[in-house]
Amino acid sequence: MRKERLAKLLFGIGALALALGISTLVLLAAKAPPLAAYANIALGALGSWDVAANVLVSWVPLVLATSGLLVTFTAGLWNIGIEGQITLGAIFATWALRALQGAALPPALAIGLAFAAGMAGGALWALLTGALRTFGGVNEIFGGLGLNFVSTALNIWLIFGPWKRPGVASMSGTVPFDKSLWLPTLAPGSRLAPASLALALAGIALVFVLLRGSYFGLRLKAVGRNPRAALLLGIPAERYLLAAFLGCGLLAGLAGAVQVTAVYHRLIPSISSGYGYLGLMVAMLASNQAPLAALVALFFAALNVGSIRLPIVLKLDSSLAGVLQGSLVLFFLLGQGARQRLLERKRGGRP
């Protein structure tokens, strides 16, 4: 057991080293100084309290989306539709805030209702993919991908149509909400809302407990490993798959609601910020382990925020962060595959 852990760790480090190697080659090909680039990313992510807070702002929706994906991954599902689920969460949260803006509700209640609406929106969209899969025989990858496009179209239509600014349809999104409906931050000028941080921590903790220590988690795992065998053991696999979609949708919807209430304070065209796809990478890299996923998400968020300095200081494109993240996942998966083969060979199985 211990040996296996050590091997895993070594493969992880190997993947990181290879990813760094590829990124360095990319930098050298672009005639850019690699060390300065990495130093700037680090400074851009940790150089001051403000940027560190920005990393956490980015971490919150990413870790919420990732938490949701841990549930669907456990059930053996490729929930590519998470992007749409985040978007629907944002749309529902916006809808709630627009409806409540004039009402004389305490802001905390209005924001709370917006979160609830966002979760409902995400869950609805996820269940749609789930229903397509369980009742319609549509693989969740294709169903989810299709619904992602639908959610984007719906979002754009709302921003340029019914919810447009007075007289102007703007790519910068809907009119910002009144400041009272922004999720409060610690100090004026700070971006980090402590409540959103608490939500993210609660989300990942909940998923950890659910998957690690609950009967539900155990059965979900069984469904994920082998749905037919699970069915034979008396586990209603379809119901568990739908429950996994529901759980992921709730968390993804919450991520969307956070984007609206705590980050942009309005609905914008690319409201999901790609956190769904990024979350898929985080969950893969973290081998579906919740605590590790939280850390990997933090690393990815730091890369995203830190890389803003690249174009400013070194005139480099920020997409270097994406190169690093992508190659990291790729090498990690390759490493996993290689390790699997080695193990099989040792056991004298198939070559």
Partner: protein, 399 residues
């Protein structure tokens, strides 16, 4: 440093703090100033963003002690997860004391940034929040708005188009619908109609002028209409001159393509003086912004401590509209017939002498009166033009 400031403000209480820094501009920056430029598109887009970038190159060359840094593609599609004010703060952390937000899409974020950073000089290009007589006025002591009177050069573009078209059909490739884009499309129409009736002595009813909006300043696949497609549609349906109102150069590229196929069509790009090089032989000229002088003035004010919140709507230097040191807007002539070229010169001379096409009688697109006979449009009437003008085809208000 900032944390302690924030703590101090928190202690003072919000109300006191906001009134305390609601009063005065930031202190003089002194002999050295780093400017941070926030661009909506790529810095080398050969359009709007590059014109702004070149404006700061001018400042760096002309004002001793000034340097600048920039972040381009500052929009949430290109930089997911970031906000424009956050990007501006990254520039501040690299030493910028003055920030230029150079797109109308950045209005909310520029206001937020200006309020949260009273110690930073803020310019918002194209905005009107520092215009006391404007509709969006906000009391922001550190905010200057800068815009060029492009209306004049769009009229010149209209003249060039009217003198060139063989079919009497002019297309206008519009970005999104707002006050600015409406008044610029209308200006192009006014210029075209004036040349059509006064120079060519033709029947105004025989001039077609159609506006098609794509939805944003540049193409975003899946979100906006494709400007290439829109330009093609114009050329395929008898419109032989397309005036571009967007930030990129699709209209010129399509005109070149159609010309290569033997069709006689032309285009007029926008924003950037050197955009004329793109379409040799098909580009009639380019109305362009020259941001350098206004940005230089703002930089000098920041350094000397003479900064005052204000709204600038700068016109051309009528002695030489293309003077890089004095003219805020200009027109670079391209492939024009002798006759059209002469008409453009004549028109510029008439404008310089006081010709005003924004004068009554003028009706809005729906037929309602905009200006009575003899009435001249005020700056507010032009800036906030509520619809396209009568005689123009195309959508007036976004639905």
């Amino acid at each position: 440093m900032r944390t302690s400031r924030i703590l101090a403000i928190a202690l003072l209480g919000l109300a006191i703090a906001s009134s305390a820094f609601g009063q005065s501009a930031p202190p003089a920056a002194g002999s050295k100033l780093t400017i941070g430029l926030v661009l909506v598109g790529p810095y080398n887009d050969r359009g709007w963003s590059q014109a702004n970038y070149d404006g700061l190159q001018y400042v760096k060359a002309k004002v001793p002690g000034v340097d600048f840094i920039y972040i381009d593609k500052a929009n949430s599609a290109d930089r997911p997860g970031t906000t424009v004010s956050q990007l501006a703060e990254s520039l501040v952390s690299q030493g910028a004391k003055m920030i230029i937000f150079s797109s109308d899409d950045m209005m909310d974020e520029a206001n937020k940034f200006a309020q949260e950073h009273p110690e930073i000089f803020v310019v918002m290009t194209t905005g009107d929040q520092s215009w006391k007589e404007g509709k969006a006025y906000k009391n922001l002591p550190n905010m200057i708005n800068i815009m060029g009177k492009m209306e004049y050069m769009k009229m010149v573009a209209g003249v060039a188009a009217a003198l060139t078209t063989k079919t009497g059909k002019i297309g206008f490739l519009g970005p999104l619908i707002n006050d600015e884009t409406r008044r610029l499309a209308a200006s192009a129409y006014l210029g075209a109609r004036y040349a059509w009736t006064s120079y060519l002595k033709k029947d105004p009813a025989k001039l077609e002028f159609k506006v098609t909006w794509i939805g944003f300043w540049f193409n975003i696949p899946g979100v906006t209409s494709d400007p290439t497609q829109v330009a093609d549609d114009f050329f395929n349906s008898g419109y032989d001159v397309v005036i571009s109102g967007i930030d990129t150069t699709e209209a010129v590229a399509e005109a070149a393509k159609f010309t290569a196929q033997g069709k006689k069509v032309w285009a007029i790009p926008y924003d950037y003086a050197k955009a004329i090089d793109e379409g040799k032989g098909v580009s009639l000229g380019v109305p362009f912004f020259n941001w350098g002088p206004a940005y230089a003035k703002a930089a000098k004010d920041a350094m000397a401590g003479t900064w005052k919140a204000r709204f600038e709507w700068n016109g051309p230097d009528w002695k030489n509209i293309n003077n890089p040191d004095t003219s805020a807007v200009g027109f670079n002539k391209g492939t024009l017939s002798k006759e059209a070229s002469a008409a453009v010169d004549r028109f510029v001379a008439e404008l310089a002498k006081g010709l005003n096409l924004w004068a009554g009688p003028l009706n809005l697109q729906d037929g309602s009166a905009y200006l009575k006979k003899g009435e001249k449009a005020s700056d507010q009437q032009i800036w906030y033009l509520p619809q396209l003008l009568q005689g123009m085809q195309g959508q007036s208000v976004s639905k």
